[in-house]
Subunit: 384 residues, 2 copies
């Protein structure tokens, strides 16, 4: 039972593996598209081998491939190539995240495909994109996190290299690819013209770091890691309390006045050193000490109530269990039920793309076993 959504009726032939491409097509599936995963016979998508496993099946794989179909095809074998080409005739979009040049070697580069399938949109997500001198360098999330600069601004001064705790290299690229594919589908709907999309994970890192790039090119100083603070806005960070930490985000002058009131020190907002965000940034260390001296008197929970009532954005630092217990998770259907393929049920992240025109069911279809839809697809293509 596919999800109904703005991409209902759109068919995607998906050659992508592991994460960046599959995350793009997961979002497309959540918006109603039909995703036909074309996998290497034998092992299939590498992600099938990544834990954790439930009864031998990867929950990592299920998380990003739920609701898709799978057909194993060897794109070097004539019969499978014929099947693949029949699939392309039906498809609106092809998504791949091979190393640049791979599709050309297979005879399925954009130039070739565009001539034969003029209605087909081609989306590629690669490490460094399809142009430029380093186009063919291999990349994975971790490599791009290191090379793109995000690790250099995350963590503590003088500390060890710190990875972003999720795969921002891949997921970021997957998101930009989804933005572009939807735009290309719109363009085709409006004009009939199709396009190749060429997303580079490295490019996406520079795009995600837009404010930091601007700061460096304007100020000329290389930004470093600054722990839990925001680089530009003050106070906007984690503070120690009597029993832990609290996040306080006073994003403008009037919120800072409210914060000073809530802390019981309205005079703080009258201090000429703290009058504007730029002055507060200049005197950040002193301001932090003053605020933490006050916060030490109560617990995180007490301060969240007091500061929250004053209308200043604040909150705890939740672990994953605490985050998932937040009442909004259930209210917003952000944990959906997905069959694990062995009689049980997985609880996986829901769809954040909420639209009034479409229902947001609490269940999703299972991730496909490798080649699970082979016979049905052949039949549909008249090849059985």
């Amino acid at each position: 039972m596919a999800v109904r959504g703005p991409l209902s009726g759109i068919t995607v032939v998906d050659l992508s593996r592991i994460l960046a491409g599959p995350y793009c097509t997961l979002l497309m599936a959540e918006m109603g598209a039909r995703i036909i995963k074309v996998e290497q016979p034998g092992t299939g998508d590498d992600a099938r081998a990544y834990g954790p496993f439930v009864k031998g099946k990867s929950a990592y794989f299920a998380s990003i491939n739920r609701g898709k179909e799978s057909i194993a095809l060897d794109l070097k074998m004539p019969e499978d190539r014929h099947t693949f080409e029949k699939l392309l005739e039906k498809a609106d979009v092809i998504v791949e995240n091979f190393r640049p040049g791979t599709m050309e070697k297979l005879g399925y580069g954009w130039e070739t495909l565009h001539k034969t399938y003029p209605n087909l949109i081609y989306a590629s997500a690669s490490g460094f994109g399809h142009t430029g001198p380093h186009s063919k360098d291999p990349a994975y999330d971790m490599v791009v996190q290191g090379m793109g600069g995000i690790m250099s601004v995350t963590g503590f001064p003088g500390g060890q290299p710190t990875r972003i705790g999720m795969s921002i290299g891949d997921i970021g690229a997957g998101l930009y690819t989804a933005v572009a594919v939807n735009a290309a589908l719109l363009h085709r709907c409006r004009t009939g013209e199709t396009t190749k999309i060429d997303i580079g994970m490295f490019d996406c890192q520079l795009a995600l770091l837009e404010g930091i790039v601007a700061r460096y090119t304007v100020e000329g100083e290389v930004p470093g890691p600054i722990g839990s603070r925001h680089a530009t806005i003050t106070p906007f960070q984690a503070f120690k309390t009597g029993d832990g930490n609290i996040i306080i985000a006073a994003g403008n002058d009037s919120l800072f006045v409210k914060l000073a009131d809530a802390l019981g020190h309205p005079e703080m907002a009258q201090n000429p050193d703290y009058k504007t965000n730029d002055l507060r940034k200049l005197h950040q260390a002193r301001l932090q000490d003053e605020i933490e001296a006050i916060l030490a008197a109560k617990t995180t929970a007490q301060w969240i109530e007091i500061i929250g009532l004053a209308g200043v954005p604040c909150g705890p630092i939740n672990n994953i269990a605490q985050a998932l217990q937040h009442p909004q998770v259930e209210a917003r259907n952000m944990l959906v039920s997905v069959p694990d393929g062995s009689g049980g049920t997985l609880k996986l992240s829901g769809n954040p793309l909420k639209m009034s025109a479409f229902a947001d069911p609490t269940t999703r279809d299972a991730a496909p076993d490798l080649d699970a839809n082979h016979a049905a697809i052949l039949k549909e293509l008249g090849l059985d």
Copy 2:
């Protein structure tokens, strides 16, 4: 000179401020849409007050508002409301990131707008979305980073809270909003139906953490921070070398064999403890020690050459300056020139949405001064 792209001809009325909404409309501008920023008279978008400044103008603001237009309107004044409503008649999309309920108070909630402007797509990006018991809680990037769980998996065990070095709460929500707006435009093109889009920053955090959510719901153990490592894939992390650090990402068994060869220790890949990714994860600490003992003999640059030649994804940990010097940045046009509004030029992050059907110019229009386009827009609407 607006960029030509898949959204050319689309007009967006943009009430959003600071980052999540404006980042969505920046992407739309990069895809060719016309963005009319409707700002509060007097101060305008709060981001105008965030440094760094160039000749009194915020480069932070310019980075996300380049190429947009600005009109200052007081939505509580009848004359300005009239202008705003004339604008809505022309618009395809309205984007806002107010606290839920604000638009209703102004008389511009979705239900009302949808009746009067049935062709208009309505996109909201708020902290916790427009439904649920905590819908109206205030949020900023930093609050959502704390509450959504991403900080709990970033940094080192027992270490201080670590912020992601960019505004993943806002930028993440901006990306999902852009995915949804493009999908809604496609849906309108295909069916004529419009929709309200309701993006919650908190929801987006859970979506970004999909693999970690799956790991927790399957294993029941609360994931913690693990420094520079990947939670599931091993070896996939930063290692110490003779003179610094290197990222090595051996994402599957055959890459691990190549890595062992490149390190001059092919027997490592024959070790029964290291045969599969799951086994390598189990013996991660020992494997890291063995690899670092070997890496100590040469520099990062030497190892990148050796390991890279072997076809194993690897790379340095670049700071922002080093990242921007990478040859792909120029080759991929990932730093564009934008007038700073005072006779100079800013260098800002380029557009990662590369499409063969559209040029990717090396320059962009300046960010607008507050209310800069008032007279021209009134004239266009016949209100002058």
